[in-house]
Symmetry: C2
Subunit: 744 residues, 2 copies
C-alpha cells in the first residue's frame, strides 16, 4: 500500500458490504479518475486477517499483507483518506467457519485450538485472538468523532417523515435518577501536571492495602474516580417502585450493560433483587447454590431452576408471580412471550431504548401489550438528566416534527479511548468496607479517595490530553465549515468536566474563533438550548465527551431521521487524515443468504454514498483539488435524488436491489456532473455518460432484474472468489460498457 495525496483507501470487509463493493467500486473508480483520484482497496475482512496472521504457512502467491497493521500505520499519515465499511466483529464460531473455508480453499492455516496447552497452540491462539471481536475499530479510531445527518438524508426525512407518537401535556412519563450516592455526585478528577505512575488501592478497615491497578499516565492526562453506593442504589430502586405503585405509572429500567460491561450488570442485578425482593429473600441461599446470577437477569432464575424438582420449580414460579402482584407493572420487552424489562440485561439499552420511548409518546409496552406512561429508571444521574429535559420539552412543546426540525450533529471526544467507555479494567465491586484511593506512585501522595462500603461500585477513567486538544480543533473546524453554533457540553457540577473546561478554554485560544458561536454549557442547558433551536429549524453542534457522543448520536437522529443508521460518521484522524465510517447496520449475513438463494442483494449502500461524498470533498479541500470537491458535492445531490425518487434497494426479490440502486446513483451522479457549471471540462466528460445512462435506464434495469430469482454461486462466504463475485454483482453489460467508455 502506497500513500498518495490523491488516493482513497476503500476497505474490503465481509458479507453484504463486501458484495456491494463489487458493484459500487467500479462506478466510484470511474468517476474518481476524472479528478485524478485513485481508489485503492484494503482488505480487512476476517479471511484476509486470518491469512495475514500465518504468512509462513502460505505460498508466495497465497500470502497477503497485514492490511490492518498497514491501515493502522496509515492513520498516522496526514494524507490518509479511508472509507471504512462495516465488518464482522468475529465470534469464535464465525472465526472457525472462516478458517474451515480457507482450509477448504487450500490455505494451510491451523485450526482454532479448543484448548491451548502446547507452546504452538498458545502461539496460534494468540494470533487468532487478535482477530476476534471488535479488533478493527481500536486500530483505526485514531481520531475523534464527527457525526451528522447529511443534507440529502435530512431532506428525505423532511419530505417523507417517519412516524412520531403524539405527546400529551398530561403525560405522566418521566426519567428518574439518583439524587445522591451515584457516580455523578461522588466524581473526583485530577489532571496530571507531569507524566507519572499512579496506584489504585483499596485500604481495608484493618489498614491493609490492596493494589487494584497500576497506571502510567501522560502529562496533562485527566484521571477521574467515582463510586456508586450500593445502599443508595437499592434504596433508590425501592423508592422508584413504591412511587410507581402509588401513581400507577409503569416501571422500566434503562442501563447499558453491554458497553458498561462491568458496572451496569451489577446495577441491573440490584434492580432484579430489589424488584423480586420477596423471591430472593425466600430463595436466596438456594439460588446461590444452583448458581443463579441476578446480574444476568431473571432469565438466570428460569435457567438455573431447571435442575430443581418440579414441585420446587412450581413454588418458585408462583413466588415470581406473587412479586408482580406486590410490585408495580413493569415495561415488557416482549409481552407475548412474557419477557420483562428485567429478564436479560442486554434487552434494554439506554441509548436506544430512551429515544424509542420518547419517539413513542413517552410510552412503553405493558403486560397487556398496550402502550403506557412509564417511569424510566436510570440510576446514574450524569446523563439521565438529559432525557428528563427532553421529556419535559416534549410535554411542553409536543413531539418533534421531522418535517420542520433542525439537526444536532455531534463532535465527540473518542480518540485514544478518551473517557474510556465502561473503564472495565478500572471498575471494581467492593468486597468490604474501606477506602479506595488513587496514589501518586512516586511520592505516595493521595490524589483522590473515597470512603466505600461493601457492594459499592468504584471506578476510574482516563482521558489523554492530545485527543482533547484535537477535539477542540475539530469543534472549531466544524463550526466554521457548517457556520453553525457549537456547544461544548461540560457540566459545571462534574469534576471531570471542569478539568476539561480548563483545557477547552486554553485550546480554544489556539484557534481563530472570530465570528463563531461557541459556548460551554451544562448538560441540561445545552440540550435545552439545542432543542429550542431544533423546533425552530435551527442546527446546533453538540461537542461532547465519549458517552454523550454515543447517546446523542442515537437520540437526535432517531427524532430527526427515525434511525441513527443514516448518520454520516467521520473520524478525522489526529495525524491529519480522515476515516469515513459507513452504515451502522452490521455486515448482515441474512443479506448474503438472500443473494445466494435468489440473486437479490438488499444491502443499502447509502452509508457508502454519504461517506464517499465527504471523502471526496475533504480530499478536494486538503489537496486543493477542485474537481474532487465538485465530484463530492454532485454525489451528495445524486444521493438526495436517489432518496427522493425512492431508488433505494427493496427487500423483495424481483424489485430494485443494491445493484440497481448503484445504477441510479451513477445516473444521477453523472447528470449532476454534466449539469454543474463550475468546471466545464468536467461537465463535458460526464455529459455523454449522463445522456447514455438516461437513455438506457430501462435497459439496464431490465438487465439487472432479469438475473434475479435463481441461486448463484460466488465461491465462498468469508473468502469468495473475486471474479465470481464480480460477475454476480455486475450482470448488466450495458452498464459495464458505459462505465468503461468513461475511462479518462
Amino acid at each position: 500500500m502506497t500513500t498518495s495525496n490523491q488516493k482513497i483507501i476503500y476497505t474490503i470487509t465481509d458479507e453484504a458490504p463486501a458484495l456491494a463493493t463489487q458493484s459500487l467500486l467500479p462506478i466510484v473508480r470511474s468517476f474518481a479518475a476524472a479528478a485524478g483520484i485513485e481508489v485503492e482497496t484494503s482488505d480487512i475482512s476476517v479471511a484476509a486477517r486470518v491469512l495475514a496472521a500465518f504468512p509462513e504457512r502460505l505460498t508466495e502467491e497465497q500470502r497477503v499483507p497485514d492490511t490492518l497493521a498497514e491501515l493502522g500505520a496509515l492513520t498516522q499519515d496526514p494524507s490518509a483518506n479511508i472509507i471504512k465499511l462495516p465488518n464482522i466483529s468475529a465470534s469464535v464460531p464465525q472465526l472457525r467457519a472462516a478458517i474451515a473455508e480457507l482450509q477448504s480453499q487450500g490455505y494451510d492455516i491451523p485450526s482454532f485450538p479448543d484448548e491451548a496447552t502446547t507452546d504452538e497452540e498458545k502461539e496460534i491462539r494468540a494470533r487468532y485472538s487478535k482477530i476476534l471481536g471488535s479488533a478493527v475499530n481500536p486500530v483505526l479510531r485514531e481520531g475523534n468523532s464527527d457525526r451528522r445527518a447529511p443534507a440529502a438524508v435530512k431532506a428525505y426525512a423532511r419530505k417523507f417523515p417517519h412516524s412520531m407518537g403524539k405527546w400529551s401535556k398530561a403525560s405522566q412519563s418521566h426519567a428518574d435518577y439518583m439524587r445522591g450516592g451515584d457516580f455523578f455526585s461522588s466524581e473526583q478528577s485530577i489532571t496530571m501536571p507531569e507524566a507519572g505512575d499512579v496506584r489504585i488501592e483499596f485500604v481495608g478497615k484493618d489498614g491493609s492495602v490492596e493494589v487494584k491497578k497500576e497506571l502510567s499516565l501522560l502529562q496533562g492526562e485527566v484521571l477521574d474516580s467515582m463510586f456508586m453506593s450500593c445502599k443508595a442504589l437499592r434504596d433508590f430502586f425501592e423508592d422508584t417502585l413504591n412511587d410507581c405503585k402509588e401513581t400507577g405509572v409503569m416501571w422500566s429500567l434503562h442501563v447499558k450493560a453491554t458497553m458498561m460491561k462491568v458496572s451496569h450488570p451489577i446495577v441491573f442485578g440490584h434492580a432484579v433483587t430489589v424488584y423480586y425482593k420477596d423471591l430472593f429473600d425466600k430463595h436466596g441461599e438456594l439460588f446461590e447454590e444452583i448458581g443463579v446470577n441476578p446480574n444476568n437477569g431473571l432469565s438466570s432464575v428460569y435457567d438455573k431452576i431447571k435442575s430443581l424438582p418440579d414441585s420446587k420449580q412450581e413454588e418458585i414460579l408462583q413466588d415470581i408471580h406473587d412479586c408482580y402482584a406486590e410490585r408495580p407493572e413493569m415495561a415488557m420487552v416482549d409481552s407475548v412471550k412474557g419477557i420483562t424489562n428485567l429478564h436479560i440485561p442486554s434487552d434494554v439499552i439506554v441509548d436506544a431504548s430512551m429515544p424509542a420511548m420518547i419517539r413513542n409518546s413517552g410510552q412503553m409496552w405493558g403486560r397487556d401489550g398496550k402502550q403506557k406512561d412509564t417511569k424510566a429508571v436510570m440510576p446514574e444521574s450524569t446523563y439521565a438528566r438529559i432525557y428528563q429535559e427532553m421529556i419535559n420539552f416534549c410535554k411542553t412543546n409536543g413531539a418533534f416534527d421531522p418535517t420542520t426540525m433542525g439537526t444536532v450533529p455531534n463532535v465527540g471526544l473518542m480518540a485514544q479511548k478518551a473517557e474510556e467507555y465502561g473503564s472495565h479494567d478500572k471498575t471494581f465491586e467492593m468486597k468490604a468496607d474501606g477506602t479506595m484511593r488513587v496514589v501518586n506512585a512516586a511520592t505516595g501522595e493521595v490524589l483522590m479517595q473515597h470512603e466505600v462500603e461493601k457492594g459499592d461500585i468504584w471506578r476510574a477513567c482516563q482521558t489523554k490530553d492530545a485527543p482533547i486538544r484535537d477535539w477542540v480543533k475539530l469543534a472549531v473546524t466544524r463550526a466554521r465549515q457548517s457556520d453553525t453554533p457549537a456547544i461544548f457540553w461540560l457540566d459545571p457540577e462534574r469534576a471531570h468536566d471542569m478539568q476539561l473546561k480548563a483545557k477547552v478554554e486554553a485550546y480554544l485560544d489556539e484557534h481563530d474563533t472570530e465570528g463563531l458561536d461557541i459556548y460551554i454549557m451544562g448538560y441540561n442547558e445545552a440540550i435545552r438550548f439545542s432543542m429550542e433551536r431544533l423546533i425552530r429549524g435551527q442546527d446546533t453542534i453538540s461537542v461532547t465527551g465519549n458517552v454523550l457522543r454515543d447517546y446523542l448520536t442515537d437520540l437526535f437522529p432517531i427524532m430527526e431521521l427515525g434511525t441513527s443508521a443514516k448518520m454520516l460518521s467521520i473520524v478525522p484522524l489526529m495525524a491529519g487524515g480522515g476515516m469515513y465510517e459507513t452504515g451502522a447496520g452490521g455486515s448482515a449475513p441474512k443479506h448474503v443468504q438472500q443473494l445466494l438463494e435468489e440473486n437479490h442483494l438488499r444491502w443499502d449502500s447509502l452509508g457508502e454514498f454519504l461517506a464517499l461524498a465527504v471523502s471526496l470533498d475533504e480530499m478536494g479541500i486538503k489537496n486543493d483539488n477542485k474537481r474532487a470537491r465538485i465530484l463530492g458535492q454532485a454525489l451528495d445531490k445524486a444521493t438526495g435524488k436517489l432518496l427522493e425518487n425512492n431508488k433505494s434497494p427493496s427487500r423483495k426479490t424481483g424489485e430494485l436491489d443494491n445493484r440497481g440502486s448503484h445504477f441510479y446513483l451513477a445516473m444521477y451522479w453523472s447528470q449532476e456532473l454534466a449539469a454543474q457549471s463550475e468546471d466545464a471540462e468536467l461537465a463535458a466528460i460526464f455529459k455523454p455518460l449522463a445522456e447514455q445512462m438516461t437513455a438506457n435506464e430501462q435497459k439496464v434495469i431490465e438487465e439487472l432484474a432479469a438475473v434475479q430469482g435463481q441461486a448463484v454461486e460466488i465461491g465462498g462466504y468469508y473468502h469468495a472468489d473475486p471474479a465470481k463475485a464480480a460477475a454476480v454483482m455486475r450482470p448488466s453489460a450495458t452498464l459495464n460498457g458505459m462505465l468503461e467508455s468513461l475511462a479518462v
Copy 2:
C-alpha cells in the same frame, strides 16, 4: 412641609396602620434623633384629603394642606425619603362615611352628590372623584420598583418554613396556552425616533376609517400593538376541554380580569360560553334578552334567570348540569358552595392562583373537595410559559424547599405607567372585520397594522424612555449593592422586548458594570436559570417589565416565604429620592373594630419595620450619615430577633398585640445598638435604654396586657382624635418614660 436631607416623611394613612403609627412613631422618632434624623408626618388619609379639597369652607384652624400634592412634588426632590403605609382606596360608600364623620365633627364640607346636575354639584363631585379609588399610588409611584425578601424575613422562613405540597414526578398538571393567534404571536413594537402624535384607527372592509384613539408620544417612547384572535381563542378553549376530557385531568382557567379589566373579562366570557356551549347555544337569545353577560361569569346566568318563571329556571339549571356531564371536571373555588372556576371572573387571579397551585403539588380542588392534577389554562402565552417552566422544574426536582432555597428579588419597570398594566384606554373588542392600524398623525405613515376579525381583542401599550433608563440604573445599582447576578427578562420572540433590549444595552453602557453579572435572557431561560440557582441556595435578581414584576413578586415570595405580604417594596424615585412601601394587607377595617371593642390591635407592623430599616440605611448612604446606617442595620437585626422569638402580634385579645410587638422591637433595637461597636458613642447612648428595657420587659408587657379586653373610644374612624388615639395606643407609662429618657 420642608425638605431636608435628614428627614424621613412618614405617611399617616387610615384605619389599622394609622393606629399602629401612634404607637410606633414615638419609638422611631426617639431612635432616629440619635442620628440627627427628623421624622415628619404627612397625612394622606381619606379624611385629610377630603379636608384639603375644600379649604374655602373651613376655618383657618380646620384647614389642612394638600399633603398628597406636596408628596407628589416631593417625589421630584432628590432627597425625598417617604415611608408609605397602606391606605384606603376609597369606594363611594367609604367616602360618604368619611364625609359624614367629618361633618359631625363640625367640618362644613359638602355631602357627596348622588347626581351632579348644577355646576356646583359638578364641581363638588369633581373634587371628590380625585379622592376615590387608588388615587395615591399614581401620584407617588414616580419611580420603578425594587422588591425583595428582607434578610430577617428570609431567615424566619428558613427557620420556620411554611408548608409546601410534595410534587410527584408523575404529576399530570401543566400549563396550557395558545400556540398562535394570541397577543404574544401578533405583537408589533416601535420606538418613536422623535416626539409626535399617532392615531389608532380601525379601517372597515368598506374602507371607512374610525379613529379609536389619539396619542401624543415622547421621543424614545415605545409603542406596542397586538391582538388576540377570537376564533383562535375559542378553538383553543375547546381543545383544552377535549384534552382534559381525554386525559382525565381537571380543567382550570387563570386570568387577571381585575387588572386587565378590559381584555381579560372578554377572554373569561369566551371561556364561559365555550365550556357551557350547549347552554348558550340553546338559550343564547333568551340570555341576551334578560341581560346575561358571560364576561361576568356563570353567576350572571344565575343572577339574571331569577326573573324567569320557575319552570324555565329549572330547565336552565338542568341544562347547566348537563354541561358538566359533557365537559371535563372543572377546578372549584368553593366546592362546598358549588362555586366553580368560571363563576366569577375575579375569583381566580393568575398571579395568586398559579403560585398557590404550584405550592399545592400542582393541584387544585375538585367538585368532591379533593385535590387533583390540573390543566392550568392561560390563553395568552407571553407569561404563561414561565409557569409551565416552573411546573416542569418541580416535577423534575420536587417542591422548592424554603429552608434552603435562595431568593429572587425583583427590579420592575413601573415608573410613569411603563408597560401600562391593562392598557384599558387602548384596548378594543372588534365590532367587525377590518384592519387596525397605528398611523403617524403628521405624515400619515402606517407604523403598525393588523388584519382583525369581529370579536378579536386589539390593544396598544406605551412605555416611556426615561423610566427604562432609570430601570437599567436601578438594576445595576441593586446588582452592585447586593453582589447578586441580575437578569433582564427580555424575550427574543417579543417585538416589544427587542425594542427594550436595544435600550437596555445602550443604557448599560452608561454604568460601570465591571465585576457584575448582568445577563439578558428570554423568559424561559431566565426563570430556569433563576430556579437552578434558587435550589442551590443562590440569589438572582429578576429585572423585568411591569406585568412580570407583578407576577414574579407573588410567584417567588410565595415559594420562598409562603406569602408575598412580607416583601420589602421600595420605589427609588426617578428624581433621586426614595419611597418605601409597607405591607400588602390593606388597611384592615376588622382590625380597628377589634381594637375599639376589645382594645387589641392585631395589625402587624413588620412592613413598617422593614421599610424603615431601608429608609434609614439609604438615608445614611445618601448623606454619608453613618449613624443612620447603623440604626437601619440594627433595626433589621432587631426585626430578625422579633420574628425569631415570635414577638409578632397575636390575633387573640389578651395576647401580645401591635403595641407589645413595638415594645419588643424597641428593646431588641436598643440592644443591637448598644451591642454594636462601629460607633461607640451611639452604643453609649442606647446602652442605658437597652438595660432599662431588658429589665422592665415584664412590667411593660403587663401594663400593655392590662388594658386589653374592654371597649375604647378614639373619637372617630376616618378622623380620630389624635390625643385619644395616642392615649389608647401608648398605655404603658413605663415604656413611654423610657423613650422620653432617651431624648438626645
